[in-house]
Symmetry: C2
């Protein structure tokens, strides 16, 4: 994912320098990490700058303020996630719905593992109403939701997926992957399952497929 352009400067008379792109990426990565750990309110811009190893006034320079930094960081993360998902799906033939669903689940597990911050941020923003949540839903969550639920209905008609409200089913799958992976430390503490281990990760994906696509 390459930044289209600096999020701030409107009409550059000279093109953006390479190092500024690096700085922005470092800030965005650090922001996702920090926000996912401590929430929007609990995260200071100085904390983000320190994690990124960047002088903190550069946040103002590149992103104007904390709100816009949050939005840019979330945008990047969700775009990466959704693009990975759609790309993986595009490589599976349309004619085999069960195979498509299986690829979707395995890809979702893989992406959720490489970006556990996503689920944490969604959950945090679901704590109370906010502009950030509205934006998240409208921009990234609802589009994917509608795409997947339509396909889930087909799977249910074919007897591949369990009956019932497909929206609930979608969310159960989602939390069984993303929500469970975000609990990595806790699960390691209670059960000695290490979801950093590729084999255990595959086992989780197998299990989700088995449970949610029994047909």
């Amino acid at each position: 994912m390459i930044a289209d352009q600096s999020p701030v400067a409107p009409n550059p008379a000279r093109k953006q320098q390479q190092r500024s792109i690096v700085t922005q990426q470092k800030l965005l990565d650090a922001a996702i990490q920090a926000f996912s750990e401590n929430g929007f309110k609990g995260t200071s811009t100085r904390d983000i700058a320190e994690r990124a190893d960047v002088h903190h006034p550069l946040i103002t320079y590149h992103f104007k303020n904390k709100d816009l930094l949050w939005r840019a960081a979330a945008d990047r993360m969700f775009k990466q996630f959704n693009v990975s998902l759609i790309k993986a799906m595009s490589e599976v033939p349309e004619v085999d719905p069960k195979a498509r669903a299986e690829v979707f689940i395995r890809t979702y597990v893989r992406c959720a593992h490489s970006q556990p911050a996503m689920h944490k941020i969604i959950l945090q923003e679901s704590s109370y109403p906010s502009d950030r949540l509205d934006w998240l839903i409208a921009t990234h969550l609802k589009p994917l939701f509608e795409l997947v639920v339509d396909q889930l209905k087909v799977l249910q008609e074919l007897g591949i997926a369990p009956a019932g409200n497909p929206a609930l089913l979608y969310n159960m799958i989602r939390v069984s992957a993303g929500g469970l992976l975000a609990l990595g430390l806790e699960i390691k503490g209670t059960s000695d399952i290490d979801l950093e281990d590729q084999r255990e990760l595959d086992e989780l994906a197998d299990m989700i497929v088995r449970v949610f696509l029994p047909g």
Copy 2:
């Protein structure tokens, strides 16, 4: 749940007054709410005192400091949850494992709905290692985990629950209930499902039973 005793005073020469119990409960409720929204770091003791409508130095008086307040609040919440669960289970005959499992799931859904803060706090504390997480696992998470996983193994042998690692299965059930309910606002935004509605809540419980206890 009644507080055994004031968490601070060691040897009261005169018994604890009723109003102090009320103050403590108000503080504990407010603390759970605040911590679940903004995390430990993102929550100030003053914020908690304001939510509880209590003068903030009373936190020092009743709980000594922020850490101990967090622990007392979490302890209360988890005890309530686990006790509800065990109580419900004790009313089901031992001889019918499937009925027991179904009661467990429906009770878990009901409790998770009445206390969505629990899942949020677990997830927050799973972000990075801490004494709080260690304590949570050892005191409340692991005991329940071991209890349930043993019963899950029986269900798997009977062909009632799907095959696979029972620890993963347990956690999938847990997040399908608690994790999904904690996402209430998001789910309402994407799908118009209102999990405050008792019928929709029952539908979720039905779905979890259907998916995880197909046998």
